[in-house]
């Protein structure tokens, strides 16, 4: 069990000393062996060990590092993901990138692009210009959407 889990804290780099201490106090109050019901010595011990590790920024840095490590020390191994896996990973994080970006603007752009496309298909159906405008609207949306997405992890 990670020390973050033991203290019911999210594994994030921006945790403060106060947050960690507050989490520890809450768990200690619930699980301390001196309580009338005997507490939960195992949970208390786990939380105490976790607090000892996470109470300083350096300790949190170490713990977080162990959670997010992708390569071992010392031998660096080429771990470039295969193209298919990279593509799948990019698609998998897309919802989170939208959520953490500017979803409203993205939606407004999508509505504008869709409106232009629908207008073209309605006003000039059967002409060569209609599919061209649909393609142009879609391209415009794709090119401008990137700015409204949050960067992928690690960037």
């Amino acid at each position: 069990m990670s020390p973050f889990t033991a203290l019911h804290l999210p594994a994030r780099p921006d945790l403060t000393d106060e947050q960690v201490r507050a989490a520890w106090r809450a768990i200690a109050a619930r699980t301390h062996p001196d309580r009338p019901d005997g507490g939960d010595p195992a949970a208390y011990a786990a939380a105490a060990a976790a607090y000892a590790q996470l109470r300083t920024p350096w300790g949190r840095s170490e713990a977080l590092a162990d959670l997010t490590a992708t390569t071992d020390i010392p031998a660096p191994q080429p771990t470039a993901p295969a193209p298919a896996r990279a593509l799948w990973r990019a698609v998998a994080v897309l919802p989170a990138r939208i959520r953490h970006g500017r979803p409203l603007r993205l939606a407004v752009r999508a509505v504008i692009a869709a409106a232009v496309a629908v207008t073209a298909l309605t006003v000039i159906p059967g002409t060569a210009s209609a599919p061209a405008i649909v393609a142009g609207s879609a391209l415009w949306w794709l090119l401008t959407a990137r700015g409204d997405l949050a960067p992928p992890p690690g960037r």
Binding site: P57, S61, V123, A128, P131, G154
Partner: protein
Amino acid sequence: MSVWGLLRALAVLWLLRQALRLVRALVTAAALIAVWPVTTTAAIAAFAAWLRGWPAARLYRAAAWSTPMTGVYLLAVALHAHGWRAVALAPARDWRTASRLAEHGHILHAALLTAPVAVPAGLAVGALAWAGRINAVTAGVAGRSAYAPAAFDARQWRRQVRAARGALAAPGTVPLVTRAGTVPAGPVIRAVGRRWTPVLAIPAASFTRHMVIVGSSGSGKTNLMIRLWAGWYAAAAQATRRGKPRPLLAALDCKGGPDARAKASRTRRVLHGVGARRVGIWPDEATLSLWDIPARELAVLLHQMTEHGDGAAAYYADVSQAVLTMAVCAPGGPPRSAAEFLDRLDPGWLAGAYADARPAELTALRAAGPHLGDIQLRYATLLNRLGPALDGPGTITDADAWYFILEGTREPSVAETQAMAITELIAHAATSGNAEPRAMLLAADDYSAVSRRVPLSNLYERGRSLGLGVMVSAQSWQGLGSDDDERYRIAATADGGLWLMNTPYPEPLVQLAGTRRVLETAHKLIGATWGDEGTSRIQHAWTADPDLIRQLATGQACYIHRGTATYVQIARPRPSPLPLPAARTPARTVIIPPARTSASGNGHHGAPTVPLPPVGLDDVLGPGAAP
């Protein structure tokens, strides 16, 4: 010819010229009306560029990105029509249809019908027109007054800044690193002498060279530096996945103070976001061991760490160096701690260690004997002032990034010595053949605070010789070195680029960007108004305008590289809010113990005292909580 005849000839010539002008204007107007879809798009594009301060290059890019729409249009025509002739004439046929529709008031219908060809063509024509307008006004051949070029430039600058700031609001515009491994700095405000791009991205290779950052206090230097550090780290980490060495960042904050702690904490947060696993903050949270340096280098470093005089003092300096060399390079191996080193500066210990030495060494030992007490006292004082953070354990390569806080403002002499030691440790890490090779970046913020004994040029050249990337910052031109020779040595060798932020004296630095040729036009005055005659000539103007640099607002920078200048709005460094992928294999634990609290007032903040976990419920919730 009579006077009357001459006047008549002149009048005819004038009328002819005016007629030609009129004809030209009418033909142009007819052509513009004839291709009204293109004209309309071009006018809208040029107006938008004027309003937003866009360069013509932006319109050209938009035109290029619109051509797929034209491609789809032609493809659709080709699927229905037979023969290339029908495909080639399709735009003209649609234009004719659209013109008829427009005459009957069906504007939307007409615009949609012609858009696939009119949009790219209009954008390109608009870009041409806008580029022509910029050139004409800048050269002084357009505008209503002599002040027009200056007013135009000032207005466009304001609009360019506004557009660049607007681009910052988009979260995905300026990530810390791109997929290609370049490091974006921020949206481009203006590019001089180089191709315009929406965002200035620095190739990772530039970081393996040397960068100089000059900006006064409050100019946004910290943001820029943290962004560059994190971007470099992320780019190097990407390269690690392709088998390149792991990155190691060493940032020296040479001014120190409470701000340095906040900056260190922020740096760590950003570095965590790009995958740095262990970020050591020295001396508050992590220690290093000076005694890891090989014996010979350690003896030289220890000698250099103390101040020496000239004249008679040189003799004692030589004696001190000889003793240090004997103590550090003793047969049993180098000392492993400050206490062990000080123990060695004792006649008894040295006599024992060198019991089997050659007669010459024994003679030297006897000669140095009377001075040993003084030397020990001097080094005990020095090591005490340096504090426990250099007395280990811990090595540079244990971490992914280090943030060294040197109290250069409060305790300059201690900070200078610490800087010497840390630089030596970094050099050792870079050259050690036994350790894992690392891609290293050595960054020194406000190095002038500690540069009295180790000049910046020395650090710089050291980095070059070791193959490290070196990034240095100063608050002004004067802060780069003690004299102009040294300043020019540093600035002129910054082949990774020169960042200029708001600074009151940028002239020596803008010289490094050189000049560019511009057209300067002089008008003939007729009374108090301009005539239509004048002269133009090629003049040289600064590529990086010093007056513009003096007026840069907070967060704006001018990046000078290979004779070009790019003005950038620096984006605040924020890592992606998305969590990094979870580890598939746990990392090997490398422990850097926290620094011991200094009891001797060693010139820096001691490690924060952290209470041990409470053992009783009263300790958790206060007295009376336990039942």
